[in-house]
Each structure stands twice: as C-alpha cells, then as structure tokens.
C-alpha cells in the first residue's frame, strides 16, 4: 500500500517537476514568471487526445508528435506574450501571460468542447511485484519524464546550443554583443518549456480526465514546487516537484482528502517562512 502510494506520488511529483522546470527555464532566460505554464500542460493533454484518440496514431509516435507541436506552441506564445513586451516592467509580462492563460483555456473549450475527455493509458495493465501491484502508466510516466528531463539537462549543460541559451539567460545584452541571436535563444527556451509541460500533460491525461481547467491547479502546484525548490534552480524545481507530489498524495491519504490542496499550499507558506529562499535557492542579496 505504502509502496504503491510512493510510486503514485513519484509519478505525480515528476509531472509537477516537469511543469516547474519549464517555469524555471523561462524565469532564468527572461526573468518573468509564466502564469500560463499550467495551460501548456492542458494543451498538451488535449493535443495528445486528438493525436491518439481521434487520429488513432500509435502512442509512441503520438508522444513525439505532441512534443513537436508543443514546441511550436511555445514559440508562438513567445512571440505574442513576451517578445513585444521584453523592454517593459516585468509585471506587464506577467499580466500578459495571465491573459494568455485565459485565452488558451477558452480556445481549448471552443475546440474540444466543455465535456471531460478520457484517454487510454500509454501502456495498459498492471505490474506485479510479489504482493504490490502498480499500474504501468505510473512507471511509464516516471521513465519518460526522467529521460526527457535528463535530455534537457544534458542539452543545457553539455552542448553548444545549451551554452548559447545559458549565455542569453545570464545577460541578453552581452549575448547580443558576441553575436548570439537573442530572439532565437529566448524563443527556443519557451519552446523547450512548453514542450516539457505538454509532454507532462500527455502523461497525466490518462490518469485524470482531460478538461480545460486541469492546467489551473496543476500549474499552481508546479509553481509551489518552484518556490519550495528555490527560485531559479532547475534541480530545485525537480526536487520541489517530487516534494509537492509526496505532500499531495500522502496528505490526501493520511490526513484529509478534502484539505489536500490547502495542505500543499500551507506547506508552501510554511517553507517560505522558515527558509525564505527555498531549499536550493541561493542567499538573496539585496541589490541597490
């Protein structure tokens, strides 16, 4: 029972971690909190519904196709909400991502209808380890997410392209001076960010029903994960996601299923009060 729940919480946590990682990448690249990150997850879930259920594409190909489509969504999102506002106060960009999240939600309702949709799991059936039985879906979720996150980590830390992205994140002006096309780099960051959140949505879709509101609460929990992990740290976002997943699942099972969401956010407030910079955050220096 406990092991089963541990696997469930890991699967949920790793999806929160993926959405959180997307948020952190955007934060590091352009210094803006993206309030539409949860909506990327929702769009990813709907796209995977169209690909797998309506067009009947095999799951493994659908996964790749979904990732590509979400990358394109991320680039479009970048050019509508961030690029025209790159020189103004960061709050205006936040408001514009809030507007985008409303628009994405409504667009999804208009395209796919208001009724909740269900998707077949990527891999059917249950895995048995002596006495415990675990749904394959959760194991696949953990596996795919881990591989994807490791891939992005490798891309950022070890490749030339990753260095370009990081250089732009550190100082856009200096990056432009040494000949990095800033618009390509920021657009690419948004694409990666939308891609991981969208794949997270595809992995989460068979567990829950797909609705246009599924992004809201997941996005906020991912946000809690970012803050708990320490703002700006990719590792922190993943660890924070796992912590939020565990608090979420175990408080739902052992404390109270009704107060589940409240406990997660209470936990966020308590962590912030005890350790204001999050777990992996650097000490905040006050700049003059």
């Amino acid at each position: 029972m406990a092991l089963q729940m541990l696997i469930t919480s890991l699967a949920m946590g790793i999806v929160y971690g993926m959405v959180a990682m997307g948020m952190v990448l955007i934060w590091r690249a352009v210094g803006v909190i993206n309030f539409a990150q949860g909506e990327f997850l929702m769009v990813g879930a709907f796209v995977s519904y169209t690909l797998a259920e309506q067009l009947g594409i095999p799951m493994s190909i659908a996964l790749v196709a979904c990732a590509v489509i979400m990358g394109i969504v991320g680039v479009i999102f970048h050019f509508i909400t961030y690029w025209p506002l790159r020189k103004s106060w960061d709050i205006t960009v936040i408001i514009s991502t809030i507007g985008a999240s409303i628009a994405l939600k409504e667009a999804a309702t208009l395209i796919w209808g208001p009724a909740p949709l269900s998707i077949d799991p990527l891999v059917d059936g249950v895995a048995r380890f002596s006495t415990v039985s675990i749904e394959w879906q959760f194991i696949v979720t953990i596996g795919v997410s881990a591989v994807l996150m490791a891939g992005i980590f490798y891309l950022l830390e070890r490749t030339y392209l990753g260095h370009i992205l990081q250089a732009t994140a550190q100082d856009q002006y200096a990056a432009a001076l040494i000949g990095i096309p800033v618009v390509v780099a920021t657009g690419m960051t948004f694409a990666i960010s939308a891609l991981i959140a969208g794949v997270g949505g595809m992995l989460l879709a068979p567990v829950f029903f797909v609705t246009s509101t599924m992004g809201g609460i997941t996005g906020l929990k991912a946000f809690a994960a970012v803050v708990i992990g320490g703002f700006g740290s990719v590792q922190g976002a993943i660890i924070g996601g796992l912590i939020v997943g565990m608090v979420d699942t175990f408080s739902g099972a052992y404390v109270s299923s009704t107060y589940r969401d409240a406990i997660v956010f209470m936990f966020l407030v308590v962590v912030l009060v005890i350790r204001p910079q999050g777990i992996f955050g650097e000490k905040i220096a006050e700049k003059v």
């Binding site: 994405l104 409504e106 109270s256 956010f265």
Partner: protein
C-alpha cells in the same frame, strides 16, 4: 487629469457624482445589479491599489480576505444575530487582524517571494472555506444572510444598495486619495520605487508595509461584508485565486499610478461583458487576447497610455507660441 485647476476638478467631481446618483433611474434592474457588483469589485481593486499600486507588494491573497470579510458577516448575522452595522465593523476588524498576522509573517520575505507566499495564502484560505463545513457551510455555502440596515432603515432593493455602495465607494476613494497624498502614502511609494533608498531615508519598511497591508485588508473586509449583504448567499467558489488575478488585471488595465486607474479598469471590465454579450462563448477568449493586446500597446495601463497620447497631441499641435519653434523642426 487634463484640468490642473483645483476648482474645475471639484466641479467635475460633483457633476460626476450627481450623474452617478441619477443613474438608477436611467438603467434597468439588471444593469443596477451589474453596477452594484462593480462597486464591490472596485473596493477590492482599491485594496490592490494600496498594496500593489502604491506599496509595490504583489499580493494575490486579496480575494481570500474578501471572502473572510464575507464569511465573518455571514456567521455573525446568521448564527449570532448581530446587527448588520456591527457585523460590517466586525468584518473590517476581523479581516484587519488576520491580514496583520499574515503580514507580520510574510513581510520577512522580499520582492517576488511575498507574492508567491500570498498565492499559498489564498489557496489555503479557499481550501478552508470549501471544507470547514461546521463553520463555513462547506460546499453548500451560507444562505439567509439578512438585509443590511441601520436602526429602522433597511436596504431592501437593488436601488437602496446602489446608494449605500455609492456612499461607501466615494468615502473609501476619498480616504485612499488622502492616504495617497499624505506622508504615509509617500513612504508607501518610496518603498515601491526603491526599498533600500526608502530605508536609508528613515522609512521603517517592515512596519510601513504592514500598515499598507492592513489598510488593504480593511477594504477587503468591508467589500466582503457588503457582498454578503448584497447577495444574501455566499459560497467558497467566489473567493478564488483567479478573482485576485482579475483585481490585478483591472488595476493594471486602468493604470496603477493614480486612483483614476482602478476606476477606469473596474468600470471597463465590469461593463465590457455587457456590451459584448452577442459574442457569447467567445467572450472570455476575446477578454484574454484583449488583455495581452492592451499590455502590448499600453504597458502603463489606459491612464498612462492616454497621458502619453495626450502629450503627443500637445507636442504635435504646438500648444503655445513658445513650443512652436521646437516642434517645427520635428514635424
């Protein structure tokens, strides 16, 4: 904005108030209800103006405080049969105390982190409203809240609520404007513009931020109490995080630099859905895209953008004789 003359301003204000007072006679009952709701939202947007527009602390918890005010009134009037006016005062004080406790804990955080924590606060509060059934009625909400009244006089129609809300709104607007111009308001704005510089000038930023937060909490408590009386039924689904986001959007659309911003932002977002009713299911999509478009075109809100356009026109037309020479070279 346009008239710098003080007496002209006062006359304009009186004319606007008189027009507003006559409004109920010119509109339908439905429109009156929309306007009443707009007033409630306006008070909450003003609370956002105090804490975010003036002090620069992004608080997403305002909808939660609004809900707290509503629940305090609902509990006091239905379970303890307290007089409506006392319940209103109780809501304001209760919310103020709660906001003070939150502020004391959370203003140890700096910059964006305070905003993050306030999201946690509003989500927790909503969870409690939704699930603490013995006290808040849980998912069923609370009904049978009596009408507002003072002594023998009772608010029993939409029109009487309109005048009550108009009075409260004008009073709170005046108080806000007074704060805006006082030394307290200037210390708020000093913290917004540069907290360290403000500290160097002798502003106790932790204390001052808490004062601003408590003021905004009182506004929310009053708005919540009036909302409970107005709708006579409240449920947790009203007091949600997206509601706080809407207050922020209203403030940013209007402009966060002067009190005219909240007025314009709230009026616009309250009335636009009524004007665009034919769009039906597309309305929220248009709203979302409209918010992006407005931020792209006018990052300082309508007031800031309007000011810029006005200055631009002044420059183009030359204005006075002295300015003519400079503008000749440009245009």
């Amino acid at each position: 904005m346009i008239t710098k003359n003080k007496s002209t301003r006062i006359i304009l204000l009186i004319v606007a108030l008189a027009l507003a007072a006559l409004l109920p006679y010119a509109t339908s009952n439905y429109m009156l209800r929309v306007l009443n709701m707009m007033f409630i939202n306006y008070i909450c947007v003003l609370s956002m103006f105090v804490i975010f527009g003036m002090t620069g602390q992004m608080s997403f918890a305002q909808a939660g405080y609004w809900g707290l005010g509503a629940y305090i009134t609902a509990i006091l009037t239905t379970k303890f049969h307290v007089a409506p006016l006392l319940a209103l005062v109780g809501s304001a004080l209760g919310t103020a105390v709660f906001v003070l406790l939150v502020g004391l804990a959370l203003f140890r955080l700096h910059g964006h982190y305070f905003g993050f924590a306030s999201i946690g606060v509003v989500m927790t509060m909503n969870g409690i409203f939704q699930n603490w059934t013995p006290v808040t009625g849980g998912a069923n909400g609370m009904g049978n809240i009596p009408q507002f009244g003072i002594g023998g006089w009772e608010c029993n129609s939409d029109m009487s609520y309109f005048y009550l809300l108009l009075f409260v709104v004008v009073a709170i607007s005046l108080i806000t404007e007074l704060i805006h111009r006082s030394s307290l308001g200037r210390s708020f704005m000093a913290i917004r513009d540069n907290e360290i510089a403000a500290k160097c000038m002798g502003v106790n930023s932790y204390f001052t931020k808490n004062v601003a937060y408590v003021i905004s909490g009182i506004y929310c408590g009053i708005a919540g109490s009036l909302f409970a009386f107005l709708s006579s039924y409240i449920s947790a689904t009203s007091f949600i995080f997206p509601q706080s986001v809407m207050y922020l959007v209203m403030l940013m659309l209007g402009g966060y630099n002067s009190i005219a911003g909240p007025i314009i932002g709230t009026t616009l977002l309250a009335l636009l859905p009524e004007w665009f009713r034919p769009l039906q299911e597309y309305i929220l999509l248009v709203y979302g895209l409209g918010v992006i478009l407005l931020m792209v075109v006018m990052p300082d809100g309508l007031i800031g953008g309007g000011k810029k356009i006005y200055e631009h026109i002044c420059k183009r037309s030359g204005g006075g004789t002295g300015k003519n020479q400079t503008s000749n070279g440009v245009g």
